[in-house]
Symmetry: C2
Subunit: 449 residues, 2 copies
Amino acid sequence: MLDTLGIALIGCGTVGGGVAEILLRHGDRLASRAGRPLALRRIVVRDPSKVRDPIIPKELISTDHAAAIHDPSVHVVVELIGGTTTAKKVVLDALSAGKHVVTANKALLADAGHEIFEAARKAQRAVCFEAAVAGGVPIIRALGESLAANQVTAIQGILNGTSNFILTAMAEQGMTYAAALAEAQKLGYAEADPTLDVDGSDAAHKLAVLAQIAFGVAARPHEIQRNGIDTLDAMDIRFADELGYTIKLLAEAWTGEVEGERGRQGEGESKSGRRVALHVAPVLLRHTDLLAQVRGAYNAILVHGDIVGETLYQGPGAGRGPTASSVVADLIDIAVGRAQCTFAAAQLWSKANKGFEIEPAERVRSRFYLRLLVADKPGVLADVTRILADEQISISSMVQHEAAESGGSPVPLVIVTHYAETGRFKAALAKINRLASAAAPAVFFSMGD
Amino acid sequence: MLDTLGIALIGCGTVGGGVAEILLRHGDRLASRAGRPLALRRIVVRDPSKVRDPIIPKELISTDHAAAIHDPSVHVVVELIGGTTTAKKVVLDALSAGKHVVTANKALLADAGHEIFEAARKAQRAVCFEAAVAGGVPIIRALGESLAANQVTAIQGILNGTSNFILTAMAEQGMTYAAALAEAQKLGYAEADPTLDVDGSDAAHKLAVLAQIAFGVAARPHEIQRNGIDTLDAMDIRFADELGYTIKLLAEAWTGEVEGERGRQGEGESKSGRRVALHVAPVLLRHTDLLAQVRGAYNAILVHGDIVGETLYQGPGAGRGPTASSVVADLIDIAVGRAQCTFAAAQLWSKANKGFEIEPAERVRSRFYLRLLVADKPGVLADVTRILADEQISISSMVQHEAAESGGSPVPLVIVTHYAETGRFKAALAKINRLASAAAPAVFFSMGD
């Protein structure tokens, strides 16, 4: 049997505590899977006086990052403190001290992937991050290894469990956004400040990581078009349902090589380089779509590869067990030697990696759901349809219900378009919002088909 | 860049042709993923005169296994001829010649896993087989690597696309088994002789492979309880639907550690060693279950791990592209060096591997769907329920419709039981079948919950 792999854990909150517990409780299992023992040597925390699982030996705990990183009996540093300042220093220091790194920190990778991976290549050490995207769902290995024969042509992911929980409660129990959020907070699925989850930022960080693996594209989070669910009106969930659709917060990446018209680039465009469109947004999916059926706090990712076709990966997207399971899988990969092979071959966040370019959002083609609140009077529909026609946007379907009491109060009007370029659609939208009959700004979403 | 990895392809049918095409058409892509070129050096076929894809250079084709295996420029032998005689010889010869092996042959692994893996360990070469189970779905890597921190406690798989296609057509279009099979054959989803697909043999081979990875159990296919869909009556699909269930052909493995009562072993049993129950059978799943929603020729596997909880893997289970995609992923793993690490660490089909024992089928606990055809006369229900009660089997629900014309013709009676030991259920079944009022042998299925 090979030598023991020594591990330092930086951060011992929910996930860190889970990792510590697995390492301490299942030593025999892990040694048999890895072909060598995995030993937890040090745990670095902010508050050493905090009460922890009694299985954690007190003598492992300290507040000293540097001592843990430079301990010669430590071979891998697991960064689980989150954020992009201390975490970045810990990761870079660990690499320069010759340690492998395991992290669940998508924000750090999305923000500083180049710097971290260049440092790792220089130090000839591996950086593993299965837990950074979709918790217990092994999407990093799927994209990087299992689908390696393919060029991925599209990714559609439900990557934020909090948002999916809220959307499920709104759709199935008719809750308002505020009530569903309160329920999610009560059950521990949402933080006290849920902003990063519900505004799409968290999903955008994860999408940036997936896009690097699948397309070699170094998308900074601010380059990803992003709409959250925090402004979603229950009315639109009902209209979508009536049309046969479910609204999901999707993180999507797609190239012009996808079947069907969505994402197809203009003529001649394909010659100038390969492009990928990226966004995080509420999207209307047909009720029968696989992703439409993903309920509650689950995550799921549908990947389209040019050879394999569509494969789906689904599971718990967050939480102690699932995330710790992925962190420990990375530790076993390092113990076995796989991670080092993968790291060398993959050349992630490398300048040598000639990846896709990001398709400008305005050029992306999509079908759109458009919901207006308009005055219930003659000529309004004529005005709206004229504006759409002027931008070459044709209408696929429409819903307007008879107003119960039409005493001048605005009524909703829902229009689903055929494929249109986002730029032209938004131009039409601006004109519609300037109509005298528009009682509120128009609401719109992409259609998933 | 490392040296070229030389590949010999033994068998060039549907899947082999797909592998050849990927290697020949996407050389740059594969080299960039693997960090070294992958070169197709030889293709061995039965009939060299057969017309093939023009991309395949004729000079690579021969009928000489030995020459391909012993070619010093060949480092990996890909066995895609199927069967367990010539294929076994090819694999063993390749290993003893010092070549790595990639195979999609589940029957060979289920039948001769020990012999092949011992030979590979002796030769210090890797055997890879992602394509052997569920085509393009990376379930081998998921179980062996991504979930390595977990003890898997249950696997539920739709592993035979032909059967799932037929069941979907029966359920959704109300077809008879015969009509659905004919449709599957017309569309190329079923062979002219579909026996191995529809009688559960193919799924049992695949389950044996998964059970080896997840439980270290060396189940020979004949040790796996197996019922196919070839005797399924459309009537039972309708009754199941009425009760809220969908019938799927599942390959299942589960331990006593699963939540809920299913599979729980008798008291004291757990002390004598860890046991896993295995079967392939039509199972009733609630309409809302993830696997109930898998339609057509798709495969899907739900894996329960003790740390991660449930994760689901879904995709095309067969066919040229999906299967070739998995074969080439294995080739890249070998080129990168991952496969060699995995092979050494995993110790599959090893006598040193103290795995689970197989739970005797009679001891497995389950709920059951029981459908009788009985004479429509007084006392029948009393007889049946008395027999069940005598075996301590209690009834959860029951369906008997009013007979349209009760002119003495037998009527169906459906009973769903609470949990019962399979042995006692079968004892009751034998008594029920001996009743004078039984017009046909009773039909039964396990319930998935």
